[in-house]
């Protein structure tokens, strides 16, 4: 069983302040509204605008076509928020095992035995992409494992911002593993912003250094197949993951393990044990549950109607399916 309890909380944050700790925007607005009465000012300005004043006086503000979206939106966002707040408050949330993550340790061990490096490619995107953020979490975890062994971690990157975040992350991991001496800053380096130049350079690294394990985790584009093929040809253990569906076939076919779409984010939450990520994931699962239940109910009713042609069934289904129009 993989139960994570998240009892630790940052120092200096009182436990009672649960909501505004979980939701920093509220905290920021509360703080600001105490200091600067800008909001009141903005809104009084808006009221003075004749366009606003006229628009406000008309009736029928709500777009009735979107009632269902509103109801479902409230349910879904409510579920996500609820779990985020619960997780932040220290409630343990379960998350399933993700295939591939268990092999990480084995892959690192093998690399150490063979005296070969480990290659980590964090994808093409910059830090504004969720996939890159997830990738950095995974890199941090991997670095902690590597620090325990004696192997080299090589991280070529495409964006300078990603490079600085990756360096910070890896250094932190080595530090927490008690091996700050093993950290080599130059092993995490910028290559090129150009897609194919980057791919060609990483290709060259794979062929020359023959890493024992290659990790491709993050947002990948057309270069995915070039990297996966080359890694495959030197016989490295390959673990890949991306949330970009067009690139998944190449990873699935050429790598030993592939994290498919959301699994990348789940893996990052699974390893980082970040309560808000875990809570959010749980809330998304609630959404999938809603989808499954309604698909089952909807198809069952549609089938029943198609077979019986009964008006009653149709009426019942209309009530049940109102939420999905």
């Amino acid at each position: 069983m993989y139960l994570f309890s998240t009892t630790g909380r940052p120092p200096g944050v009182p436990h009672s302040n649960g909501l505004s700790r979980a939701v920093p925007a509220f905290a920021a607005i509360f703080a600001l509204s105490r200091a600067v009465p800008a909001f009141a000012a903005i809104f009084s300005l808006l009221q003075a605008d004749p366009v606003f004043a006229q628009a406000a006086s008309e009736s029928g503000w709500f777009n009735a076509d979107r009632t269902q979206a509103l109801v479902l939106g409230i349910i879904l966002t409510g579920a996500i928020l609820l779990y985020v707040v619960l997780a932040s408050a220290g409630r343990p949330l379960f998350i399933r095992k993700i295939a591939g993550l268990d092999t990480v340790e084995e892959a690192v061990g093998r690399a150490t035995e063979m005296g070969k490096p480990i290659l980590y490619v964090p994808g093409l995107n910059d830090m504004d992409e969720v996939q890159t953020i997830a990738s950095m979490n995974l890199l941090g975890h991997l670095a902690t494992i590597i620090a325990g062994y004696d192997s080299r971690l090589h991280v070529p990157v495409r964006k300078s911002l990603v490079m600085s975040v990756a360096r910070e992350t890896v250094q932190q991991s080595y530090l927490s593993a008690g091996r700050p001496d093993a950290y080599q800053e130059d092993d995490i380096h910028y290559v090129s912003d150009a897609q194919f130049a980057y791919a060609a350079a990483v290709d060259g690294i794979i062929v020359r250094e023959k890493p024992a394990a290659c990790f491709y985790l993050g947002g990948f584009y057309a270069e995915s197949l070039i990297l996966a093929e080359t890694g495959n040809s030197i016989g490295a253990i390959q673990i890949a993951g991306t949330a970009r569906p067009p690139q998944l076939p190449f990873f699935v076919a050429a790598c030993d393990y592939t994290l498919i779409g959301e699994e990348l984010f789940a893996a990052s939450a699974y390893l980082s044990k970040e309560p808000r990520m875990l809570g959010s994931l749980k809330g998304q699962d609630a959404g999938k549950g809603i989808a499954i239940v309604f698909i089952l109910a909807g198809s069952a009713l549609a089938t029943l109607y198609s077979v019986t042609g009964s008006e009653t069934v149709r009426e019942v289904s209309e009530i049940v399916l109102w939420l999905f129009r």
Partner: protein, 226 residues
């Protein structure tokens, strides 16, 4: 200041845009219309930022004589020349009020003569790599990979007339097994099912991420530290 203001901006923009979706009129709707327009304008500045960063990176490389610095000179010259041609509409028959890519303008030449072959050829390289990857890396190693490969082969053959020739001998009663029909069926049903499952999953992921961003729970995009 450095942390709070961005969180508040994100919150206000996010809330206004979501509310504007449900509300048809009133101040929120006016704000919604304006923010939507402003959003588009600000994204243009991202191109300018892109050009600026490019200039900065390559100037640095040239001045520090980094490896391959002469190529940075190529980038710089290409960038500046194209920029001047584009911003001043050099050679444009309509002058400064002419259409940006008007026939005869120098920018049109840069687009048709330089940009077009470079970008098209860059992508066509993938045809070679995809073939080589198919040969060297696509193995039916596991049950999953076998399913993937089988579906891929049906699509590859079924989407060309070869597939029709290969299975033309099939009796009428088995017409649905002819490769083109099988390929179309895979696209219409199992592919739709799989894509839809992924789509619903991604939609929930986007909803959760957007919510976390608007509420300031997710703020990695602001960078770490100060």
């Amino acid at each position: 200041m450095r942390r709070r203001i961005p969180l508040i901006i994100t919150f206000i923009i996010g809330v206004v845009l979501i509310t504007g979706y449900f509300v048809t009129r009133g101040p929120f709707n006016t704000l919604y219309e304006s923010f939507s327009d402003y959003f588009a304008i600000i994204t243009v500045f991202a191109f300018i930022l892109g050009g600026g960063s490019l200039l900065k990176i390559h100037l640095k490389r040239v001045s520090s004589r980094a490896a391959d610095w002469p190529y940075s000179v190529v980038t710089l010259v290409a960038f500046l020349v194209t920029l001047v041609i584009g911003l001043f509409k050099v050679g444009n028959p309509g002058g400064m009020s002419g259409e940006i890519l008007a026939s005869g303008s120098w920018l049109r030449f840069m687009f048709d003569g330089v940009y077009n072959p470079l970008s098209a050829t860059m992508f066509s390289l993938l045809a070679f790599f995809v073939a080589s990857a198919s040969y060297r890396a696509f193995r039916a190693r596991t049950k999953e990979a076998t399913i993937l490969l089988s579906a891929a082969l049906v699509i590859l053959l079924g989407r060309t007339p070869v597939g029709a020739w290969m299975t033309a001998w099939m009796p009428e009663s088995l017409a649905f097994l002819e490769l083109p029909n099988l390929a179309n069926w895979i696209m219409a049903w199992p592919n739709t099912a799989g894509q839809r499952a992924i789509m619903i999953g991604i939609a929930l992921g986007v909803i959760a991420t957007s919510l976390r961003i608007i509420l300031g729970i997710e703020r990695n995009y602001l960078g770490r530290g100060e």
